[in-house]
Symmetry: C2
Subunit: 240 residues, 2 copies
DNA sequence: ACGTCCCTTCGACGTCCGTCGAAGCGTCCC
DNA sequence: GGGACGCTTCGACGGACGTCGAAGGGACGT
């Protein structure tokens, strides 16, 4: 392989990488993906209104994202539903968010506009908890030394102990990172995601600490849950 | 938070994400980062010649990458050395590579051009093994059911057993994924990376299975290493 | 069957950005 | 001190791309 070949090889692979990166290199498309991070399927129109652009522009963006393999679509009648294709896409977006400068690291005052309130308190984000409850849980785990929450979040030894004592088993052997920081628009602060976040969420649902409100992704903290979170992490019931 | 605020929030965060993605959305910059994935510090000129562009163009690209936090630089005299800033950057690039379409999935016939040969056989890539030897190891682990090597690579139960029996301890509790696929230009096929890949590499070096050739990142398989790889994974000594 | 709604296609506009070469500056070596 | 080398700045060029509105197609409900 001579020098020219090396150049070509480097550029070719670089072009492949760049092609994927280019899909997220536009503010509108990135906003689409961030919105879709909640695991829901959105229609093209919803995304267009969310991003404040014309429907025709949204169409071309969605074409790029679907053809690029980041999103998958389902057509139902006159509606085009899209959602995130794969967990790898979620990890890619999280990797980007980990390097993006985080503005407004402190939480905003939450609006009390009724319909959004349940969602703001607690909801499913992909397969883990989000909302102010998730923030409170994350904060409490950090304060108690169960999590390290720097630029590279990780579970501490005490954290692993706490999980096993609580009866939460984190699936092992997967390539999924145990602890991830996940960011979405409501609180604009990262909360606990990754394998541990998912296991925590699963455990909370199966133990009856939280229940889904209807078929939405909004969650309700049950009285048993209030007690459990207080016993385990010292969360004041008023915060839930 | 009314609808307009939600729009603005979505766009703002989207812009942040897009800003990072934009850094890798150019073929030349992506090729830079891919080259730097070997953990070495390259000079601006080396990168320019590698990518086949003018020095002035390389300067502007490096400015973007350094200001964006993906690379860090060290000035020595008239030289400007850059290297990857952080493990988070490596993970981002690996996340992109995981979604990029992989051309030439089969290995190329290796040139015998002497100087490159040692590097092509075995070398360090960041903190794990790369080169044909790394490919052989990865392939053997997959064949023996120690690794699952699909779109989401993972260690199997047998793989975990094999590691402990071999005396390789993988640091736990970190947020680093146990198994990752790492791609670089020489073989254009992914090889074992992640926490397991790093542990394997560390073990091979401390056990004297491999030694560094001088201060380069090229590696030499020792006779003891040849025996060990054969005993553990059945690799024919001729392949090493 | 008609109007409404969701999405798509098309053409046009403007901006952004990667590229180069020439010139200049600082460093190193002879 | 002189020359070579590595990097940077500047201006100019050209292509790529995100945006819109208008027009059209297809599905749904009345």
């Amino acid at each position: 392989m001579d020098t020219v070949d090396i150049q070509r090889a480097g550029q070719d692979v670089g072009v492949n990488l760049a092609g994927v990166a280019k899909l997220l290199a536009d503010g509108t498309r990135a906003a689409f993906c961030l919105a879709l991070l909640d695991g829901r399927a959105w229609t093209a129109n919803e995304l267009a209104r969310y991003a404040g652009i014309a429907a025709s522009t949204a169409t071309s963006h969605l074409n790029l994202l679907v053809n690029g393999g980041l999103l998958v679509e389902e057509r139902h009648g006159r509606h085009r539903y899209v959602r995130v294709a794969d967990r790898r896409v979620v990890e890619l977006i999280e990797s980007l968010a980990a390097l993006a400068p985080q503005r407004n690291a402190r939480p905003l005052s939450l609006s009390a506009s009724g319909r959004q309130q349940a969602l703001a308190r607690a909801r499913l984000c992909y397969d883990h908890l989000a909302g102010t409850v998730a923030l409170a849980i994350t904060d409490a785990m950090v304060e108690r030394g169960l999590l390290e929450w720097g630029p590279e979040p990780a579970l501490t030894g005490n954290g692993a102990l706490w999980l096993s004592e609580t009866g939460i088993t984190v699936p092992t052997g997967s390539r999924r990172p145990p602890v991830r920081a996940c960011l979405d628009w409501t609180e604009r602060r990262p909360h606990l995601a990754g394998a541990v976040g998912a296991a925590l969420c699963t455990h909370a649902l199966t133990s009856g600490w939280m229940t889904r409100i209807g078929t939405t992704r909004a969650l309700l903290v049950t009285p048993a849950g209030r007690e459990a979170w207080h016993d385990l992490l010292g969360l004041p019931p008023t915060e839930l």
